[in-house]
């Protein structure tokens, strides 16, 4: 494949451009022809994070990026369609995306669907077509959620009447629909309970059988006041359930391990004099490293209406003592407002922070030191999940 004239040309070039080297030495052999392949993912790591890009200026093209928090590399992409929601299966092997397609991009026949992606190949392996009722809303962990044993999958419906769909993720079928009397979202627990949040500040908990039929339902006592201090619906996983933070910084911890949710007395992230001055605000408002009991919250100074503004600082709390243990300004480290946080659950965890200028930062959760920043990580990275 290489002519002798070509060899001479290479020698001549070497003689001219590399005068200090042994121009007469045998040149290296040419690079061999390459073959195209498809990248295989290595075994998964605790430090891989699934980052949802809401693509706010191009909402028919949302996507989930898989990112390696140790090697600072994108690992792949899962497409997510229009105004979608995503979640991970309990074993971390599957990503589920609930989304909507229109036959003509932004127009025409609407198809609501849940798509299943194999997290090892990042290929779509199946789908369930839904009735056109899917709740098209911003990310929460409760738009779409598996039962603990992964036998059922729940999907929120808002038409705007509220209900939820019960799906069989194995047989890829719709099992049924449960009316939620105006309460919204699907907070899964046990086998098989689904709690929804009501405007009255209560939780509605519906108990299902294995076929997804309703067996019972019950209402909790109210635990928040939607007028005075509403809770964010972006619940934060805890050891025995979820914590719901309020706009003013109250933490409502709820134990979902029993037949009915058990709601603890709230505690506050802010001192009395700072109430209404410093507050949490983001699209994903907190993350807890469960083993160490560390809670990470994007906080900012701002009034009513700023609950989506993003944090200028990350505050760290001890879930056992309710004490603030650290406070990390972010602007001094080059980050704009923190719009989402997530932390891995292993013994040497990494903290991820996404900002309102689409930075994705990898931080040391012990001291807030920034290890790495990706710029332009999509348009609007608003939610991060780690299996």
């Amino acid at each position: 494949m290489v002519s002798s004239a070509r060899w001479l040309a290479v020698l001549r070039l070497a003689a001219v451009s590399l005068p200090g080297t042994l121009a007469a030495a045998t040149p290296p052999p040419p690079l061999p022809a390459e073959r195209i392949s498809v990248q295989q993912l290595p075994p998964s790591s605790h430090h891989w994070v699934y980052v949802f890009d809401d693509a706010f200026a191009n909402e028919i093209d949302m996507r989930v990026h898989l990112y390696d928090g140790d090697h600072y590399r994108r690992l792949g992409q899962i497409d997510a369609g229009y105004y979608s929601s995503f979640n991970l299966s309990p074993d971390g092997a599957t990503t589920v995306v609930a989304t909507t397609y229109f036959a003509r991009g932004s127009r025409g026949t609407r198809t609501d669907v849940v798509e299943f992606t194999d997290n090892h190949t990042l290929a779509v392996t199946g789908e369930i077509v839904l009735p056109p009722k899917r709740a098209q809303t911003l990310p929460t962990p409760f738009n779409l959620a598996y039962s603990a044993d992964a036998r059922l999958l729940y999907v929120s419906y808002v038409t705007p009447a509220a209900s939820f769909g019960v799906l069989d993720p194995v047989k890829k079928t719709v099992l049924g629909e449960i009316d939620t009397a105006g309460c919204v979202l699907v907070i899964p627990s046990g086998a098989y309970r689904v709690s929804s949040i009501c405007e009255s500040g209560r939780l509605l908990t519906v108990t299902l059988d294995a076929a997804g039929k309703e067996l019972a339902r019950a209402m909790s006592e109210p635990f928040f006041d939607a007028d005075r201090d509403p809770v964010f619906v972006q619940g934060i996983p805890t050891a025995r359930g979820y914590a719901f933070m309020s706009f003013l910084g109250k933490m409502h911890e709820i134990d979902f391990s029993g037949e009915q949710p058990r709601i603890s007395a709230p505690w506050s992230l802010v001192t009395a004099e700072n109430q209404g001055v410093w507050r949490p605000g983001a699209q994903q408002v907190g993350a807890i490293h469960i083993a160490s009991g560390r809670l990470y919250v994007p906080m900012h100074k701002g009034g009513e209406g700023t609950h989506k503004d993003g944090g200028t600082e990350i505050w760290v709390f001890d879930m056992a003592t309710h004490q603030r243990v650290a406070r990390w300004p972010m602007a001094t480290q080059g980050l704009t407002r923190i719009i989402a946080v997530q932390v891995s659950q292993d013994a040497a965890p990494v903290l991820f922070a996404a900002t309102d200028s689409a930075q994705l930062a990898v931080l040391d959760p012990r001291d807030g030191h920034i290890r790495h920043v990706e710029k332009h990580f999509g348009q609007t990275p608003w939610q991060m999940l780690i299996p």
Binding site: F56, Y82, T159, P160, A161, E199, M219, P230, G305
Partner: protein, 171 residues
């Protein structure tokens, strides 16, 4: 059975048993728009703290600071070929909406404002505006700006948002 019928059926069959009257009214309210909505909806006055501050672009409908946009989260139709009350050509307004209570510095009054999405084209992408004063999570849909309010339109794709005065907010 359309969503409205279904909702009414639910109301009579289940909702009334399990939720407060106020919640039912809010749920009904979010299916309506225009002045008829007014008596049904809760009123929020939480955003008066800033009323004494200067409002720099409060009279410019192409600015996020325009007084009517106090509870918006989306793209301003004024920048997308529409106005603060008109959807851009070729889009359709959503018949359902969320509301806000906004202070008009020009006359010192608080107004109820309905935010309707304009639907049927992809995201406008210009004049992104998030203020969310008095905004509430989706368990109070009548005050929630996270939901795609184009959800019930024939073409449910979100393009931009208009703001429409419903009337003076009752004290």
């Amino acid at each position: 059975m359309g969503p409205l019928d279904r909702l009414f059926e639910e109301s009579s069959r289940q909702l009334a048993r399990r939720t407060s009257r106020r919640s039912v009214l809010a749920t009904l309210g979010r299916l309506l728009t225009g002045a008829a909505l007014l008596p049904l909806l809760p009123i929020d006055r939480g955003n008066r703290a800033l009323a004494g501050e200067p409002a720099p672009k409060a009279d410019n409908p192409e600015s996020c600071e325009y007084w009517k946009y106090c509870a918006i989260d989306g793209y301003l139709c004024s920048c997308c070929g529409g106005t603060s009350t008109a959807c851009p050509p070729g889009t359709a307004p959503s018949p359902i909406s969320w509301v806000g209570t906004c202070h008009n510095p020009a006359d010192g009054r608080d107004y109820m404002v309905s935010y309707n999405d304009c639907c049927g084209k992809t995201t406008c992408g210009t004049c992104d505006c998030t203020r969310s004063e008095g905004e509430r999570p989706m368990y109070r849909p009548s005050r929630n700006n996270d939901l795609n309010w184009c959800m019930a339109n024939a073409d449910a794709n979100y393009h931009c948002t208009v703001s429409v005065i419903l009337g003076v907010a009752e004290k």
